[in-house]
Amino acid sequence: MDLALTPEQEMLKAAVRRFVQQEYPKETLLQMAATGNSCPSEPWSNLAATGWLGIAIPQDYGGEGGSLTDAGVLFEELGRGPVPGPHLSSALLGAFTVLAGGTEAQKQEWLPLLAKGERSLVLAVTEADYGWDAQDVRLVAAVDGDGYRLNGAKSYVFDGVSATHFLCAVRAEDNGHVGLVSVPANAAGVTVRSLPGFSWNLSEVKLDNVAVEKADLLGLSFESGWDAFQEAAARTTPVLTAFQVGGCQAVYEMSVEYSRTRIQFSTPIGRFQRVQDHVINLVNQLDAARWTAYEALWKLDTDRYAADAVHLAKAVGSEAYYQACNHAHEVHAGVGSMTEYGLTLHTTASRTLYHYLGDPRYHRRLLADALGL
C-alpha cells in the first residue's frame, strides 16, 4: 500500500503548477472567459509545446505513454486554473476514442496530431434532449453515394468553439444504428455557436446537410464507434474528476487564505466557527473527490474491475466541485461574486463539469447497476 505520488509524478505536478501560474494567470483566465477565446492562443501553443497533451497517448503514436494516474496528476494541476481546453476533451477523450475504435490508419493520422495539439477532435454526443445514452442520439446520417449526409444538431458540446474537428455521434437513417463520424469544424453546412449564460465553453453545433465520406466513419463497421466512445469515456472520466479535484483544491486554498486574512468584527473571520464549518465542508468535499478519483485511476491502471469506482468518482467529484464552490462563496460572501476576484471562474466551470460525461444522477444509476442492485 502506498498512497504517495511517485517522484516523477511529484516533479510533473510541480512543473505543471509553475507552468499554469506563468501562462494562465488570473487575468489571462478572466479575459479568456470574457471573450470565450482560449484556443488558439499563446498560452495554448506553449501548453501544446510541452508535449503534456499526449501524456496518455501511446509512444508509438507520438504520445508520452504515461499512465492514467500520470494524466490525473497533470489534469489536477490544470484544474487549479481552471485552464480552458480543448485538452481533456480532445487529447484524452478524442484520442482514447480513436485508439479504442479507429483503424490503424486513423490512429496513425490522428493520434500524433492530437498529442501535439495541432488538431483538436471533440466528441459531439449530446443533443437538445440532454443525455449520454445511445438512445438520445438523433442526428441523422443518410447514405449518400459512398458517404453520408448529416442533418441535425449537437447541443452542449464542451470545448466546441475551440475544436478543429468534431467526432459526431450519428444515427443511421436506414437501420437506426449509432456510430461516430469525424467532421471538420469548417466543413460546409457546419455552424458552431457558443451558448450564453452560466456555462463554461459549451456550444451548439448545427449540421445542415453536411457531406462526409465512408473514411470519416470511425472504425471499420458503422457500430464500432459507439463502443469505442463508451470505453474511452470510462478511461477519461476519472481524469476529469482529477481536474475537478484541482478546482476544489484551488477554491479551498483561496478560502483558507481569505478566512485567515479577512478582518471583520476586529478578528480574522476564520475564528468564527460558522466560517470554519464552510471551510471544513469544503475540505471534506475535496478529499472525498481526491481519493475516489485516484482509486479509480489506480484500478484502471492496474486492470482491476473499475466500473463501480469510475461511476463513484464522477458522482462524488461533480458534487464535490459544485458544493466546494458554494462553500467558498459562503466564506467570501460579496467579494466572491466580484468577477475580478476569480472565484466565479471555478463556480462557472463547476456547473458545466457537473454534467460533462454524465451528472451525478446518471453515474449513481450506473453505479447501482455496477453494484448489482
Binding site: 438512445q135 449564460g197 468584527f265 458545466t352
Partner: protein
Amino acid sequence: MDFEPTYTKEQENFRLEVRAWLTENVPSGIVHPPDPIDLTYEQYQLRRDLGRKLGEKGWLWPTAPVEYGGGGLSLDYSVVIEEEIDSFGMTLPPYYDSGGKLGGASILVWGSEEQKQFFLNKIFKGEVRTWQLLSEPEAGSDLANVKTTAIRDGDDYVINGQKIFVGSGLGCDYMWTITVTDTEAKRHENLGWFMIPADLPGITIQPMDLLISGGESGAGSGVKNTVFFDNVRVPAFNIVGGENQGWKVATTHLELEHGTGGRIARNWLVDRMFDYCQTTQYRGEPLAKDPEVRSKLVDIYIDAEISRLFNLRNYWMRHSGANITYEGPQASYYRKTSGLRQATAILDILGPVALTYDPELGAVEGHVEAYMRSALIALHPGGTTDIQKVIMARRIGIGREVREKAGALA
C-alpha cells in the same frame, strides 16, 4: 386560525376595482426580464410612471400613513393590492427601491416631523427612487465598521468615502446611507444616517462586474454599483436620527432587511418549473413523470411551502403587532438556503439546459439560468446566512446574557 385574509364585500369590490385599474394602467412591455441587468431605460420609465400613478391612489405604500403620502389602508386591503400586482408579475413598488423600503420605514420611526413630511411624501407617492448604501470594502458583515465619514462643517456635513454593492441600474434620486459622524467616538456610538440627494456634486457611480447582483427576489436587482463620495456637502437637515445615533436607526433598517417584513407573494419559479416539467417531453414522456424528477420537484415544493409559511407568519406578526424575535432572520435564512437547494435540484432535473439563456435551448425564457446564478449570490446581501444565524441565536437567547430585542418598527 385563518391563513387567508377574509374579505368583506367591500374588499371584494375593492379587488375588482384594483384589478380593473391595473388592467387599464399596466402598459405592455413592462414585464421583468430574467436578469434585471437587461432592464431597459424605457421599461424602467414605464415602471416609474406606474409607481407615480399608484402613489397618487395611495396604492404604492398602502399601509403607510396618509399624512405622509401613504394609503393608510388596513392589512386586508393592502393584501388585496399586493395579490393583484403580484398576479401581474410585479411587486410594490414595481421597481428596485431599497432605500425607499428600508429608509422610509426608518424615517417613520426615527425622523423628525419635518423630515417625515419632506422625505416620506416623495417616497410614498413614488416621486423618487431611493437606493440604500451600506457595504464598504472594510464593512461587509460588520456594518458597524464603515469608514465613510460625514464631518459637520457649518450647516452641512461633508461626506467622503466609498460604498459597494449599491442599488441597481439606471440611477436614483436619493441615497440612504450610513456613515461615521465621529471619528473619535467608539464603535456603535459614532454613526449617522443620511438621506442624500443623488445629484449632489462629488458623487460618482461606477457599475461593478459581478456574477449577478443577487437580490433575494428571483434574479435580483440587476446592476450593482460602487459609489464614491468626494467632499460631498449635505445639509444638516438630511441627517436622520441625529449625529452618532446611527446604530439605533440601523436596528430598524436591518430588522426589515432581515426578513421581518414578511411576504405573501407566491414563488413563481416553482410554478414555472412544474409547468415546464409537465409540458416538456423527455424520451417520449413528460419530464415530470420520471420518478427522480418527481421526487426533486417535491423537494422544491416543500422548501417553497415552508418558506411561504415563514413569510406569511412574519407578515401577519408584523401587521398584528405580535412580539417578533428570531422569526425575521429565520425567514431570511430559510429563503436563502432553500433557494440554493432548489437551484441544485433544478440543475439535477434540467442538466445544462439550466445553464444557458439561449433562446432556442434555455428553459423558461432564461429565468432558470438567471436563478442558477442569483440563488447562489443571494446568500449574502441583506446579511449573510451566517449573520442571520448570529441574530437568530441572540433572539433565541443563547448567544448572550440578555435576549436581544428586535429593532423598532412603525
